[in-house]
């Protein structure tokens, strides 16, 4: 039998939906609509003259090889960060879920980095890995590694992935921990009695039962890397060396801010929006099938 609340009129459900709808409209649909509108315009930085130019901004964008390079960089960066942050935080959550002394303190410390602003996180890593003054780069030098993120694009990318991953681990950790705690102990005990070893228990029972959490985090993490990492990139590498860490969102930010070209920047954010919506749709259509709730 279906449980259902029946309202006598439309007024109450409408009133209940209204706050959420208002927030969505004001903070999502209006700015997104404005970005679409702006992407068809040509405007100077001060906004003293505005002109409708149709698809000119998009044409310019797709005529630039740098834009396609940024797409490639985004692909590498987002898959690296999503994979690293999900796997490391899952590992940490499994560890913290055990009955150990001081588990509370570990949990608090692991959640802490989430409160750090992206730019601050970036600067923190930048200092540690600064080629001539950084502590970590000093250690690397004694190992014979010529650490130089200013010119070596692999080093710059590694540094960024570390900073962005570190920033996201706390969030993932929190959800994984909650997910782990909701798995009934009886299932795991039963498997133990049947003779399953810890690794087997994890992959056959825990991991499949965590799949809704993992799927949710995958979507959230991809969105995070696509949208929220420009602060870290700006602080750590500035998109360099030679554009090797310029992702799509950093390009949106950079072309709009230092280029003062809002039309072109808006066109990029519209494309980015379409990409992320598409990506999320694909995730829901194909990956969600493998999720068991």
């Amino acid at each position: 039998m279906e449980k259902r609340t029946v309202f006598s009129s439309y007024a109450i459900p409408a009133a209940l939906l209204l706050p959420q709808l208002l927030i969505t409209i004001v903070f999502f649909y209006l700015p997104a609509g404005q970005a679409v509108w702006q992407s068809f315009q040509l405007e100077d930085a001060f906004g003293t003259s505005t002109q409708f130019v149709g698809f000119e901004n998009y044409q310019i964008l797709f005529s630039k090889p740098e834009y396609f390079k940024a797409m490639g960089v985004t692909l590498i960066f987002s898959s690296a960060v999503a994979f690293m942050s999900l796997s490391i935080s899952l590992l940490l959550a499994v560890m913290a879920n055990k009955h150990i002394a001081g588990a509370g303190a570990y949990k608090t410390l692991l959640i802490w980095p989430y409160a750090v602003a992206p730019a601050v996180a970036g600067v923190l890593w930048l200092f540690m890995f600064q080629p001539s003054l950084g502590m970590v780069s000093g250690v690397l030098k004694t190992w014979g590694i010529d650490w130089n993120p200013l010119l070596n694009s692999n080093h710059a990318m590694i540094l960024l992935v570390m900073a962005a991953t570190w920033k996201q681990i706390s969030y993932n950790f929190l959800f994984f921990l909650a997910g782990l705690q909701s798995i009934p102990h009886s299932l795991i005990e039963a498997a133990s009695i049947d003779g399953a070893r810890p690794a087997r228990r994890f992959w056959s029972i825990v991991f499949p039962l965590l799949s809704p959490t993992t799927f949710f985090l995958l979507v959230v993490n991809i969105t995070y890397v696509f949208f929220d990492t420009f602060g870290i990139i700006d602080a750590v590498t500035g998109g360099g060396p030679a554009g090797s860490t310029t992702t799509l969102v950093f390009k949106v930010y950079h072309d709009g801010k230092s280029g003062g070209d809002l039309g072109l920047s808006a066109a990029q954010s519209v494309i980015l929006m379409i990409l992320v919506v598409g990506l999320t749709a694909i995730q829901f259509k194909y990956i969600e099938r493998k999720v068991s709730y």
């Binding site: 200013l150 500035g238 060396p241």
Partner: protein, 440 residues
Amino acid sequence: MSIFSKTALMAATALTLAASPALAQVEIQWWHAMTGANNDVVNKLAADFNASQKEYKVVATYKGSYADTMNAGIAAFRAGNAPHIMQVFEVGTASMMAAGKAIKPVHELMKEAGEKFDPAAYLPSVAGYYSTVKGEMLSFPFNSSSTVMWYNKDAFKKAGLNPDAPPKTWPEVFDHAKKLQGAGYASCGFSTAWITWVNIEQFSVWHNIPIGTKANGIDGFDTEFKINSPVHVKHWANLAELQKTKTFDYSGRTNTGEGRFTSGECPIFLTSSAFLGNVKANAKFDWANAPMPYYPDVAGAPQNSTLGGASLWVMGGKAANDYKGVAKFFTFLSDTDRQAKLHTDSGYLPITTAAYNKVKASGYYKDNPYNETPLKELTNKPPTENSRGLRFGNLVQIRDIWAEEIEEILTGKKTPQAGADAMVSRGNAVLRQFERTVSR
């Protein structure tokens, strides 16, 4: 709160308001990007001006880096609450000049306010940078600097080099740097901050070769870059070759690498003359500075250098009385004694000829020769078409593009010629984009 005390409070408030001269004062908002010792200088200037008269009150607000300050000002203008005065770095000059009614040209401001104003009183290389082709000053020069070569005298002694005879030419710098590497400075023989400002903009001007057509963009927005000349390409080829052995070692796009000089890692370092305060405070060795090096086989080199630093732009759309206050403040800033003191305190250049002569006459430069190096560079020869200054729209963005290509050259991913050609073609694309937005 009882009724009695409420009334008393209201009465007291009314009284203070009536009695306070602040009521009649006009506030002048001044947004700036000065940190550390120079922030104190700015605050003191505002305080001194406020104490000198009763009608106006200058409120100085720190708004972050140069780029941040400019962006904040632009955003504020779009929102309809721009500051009166905005400090904009030299790179943003072309963008500000193209801003139309968003700005109030300084020559107009001074004329309308009836303030005495003689553009000829300002150092030509300084005033020229911020004036139209007709010589009308658009923004008020505030803090100006130039590129100089800082060097570590102790390191020179260690390497058996004469600390009082700094290298004059690029080949000499390369040679010195190699010797310094042998004397314990293996990780960095020499380096530069602001890779594009030093090695493209100043480099071109100092060698009297064009950065772009139309007198480096001063004569029109339809300018094109010329920075793939044989001299430019040769310089990149040299730096790329030296990068392999770290005789030259790249220090990034901005000045975050300056610490490599004060920490003693890089014994030769080219950057702004305004690095002075930092060097004084942090270098634990004997140091000096010298003019930028040049290639001796380039005819006419060295020419003169060009400016770095920032100027004050007056934003448009304010009340006439507000502008009067701004004009009075600019007159206050131009005062010879004040300029002379600003120069010796901050390490920035004096902006008026009178202030320069006054400091010179006082014998200050005999004990502080490093304060005069940038001035000697700026006034080395009468400016030419190629050395008057430069004015390219969206230069902030173009500098990033150039730096990308430089990074490709230094890592050997592109040949110096291919990199320089790309700097020109990609830079031109941004110039056309800028032209597209301003000319409609």
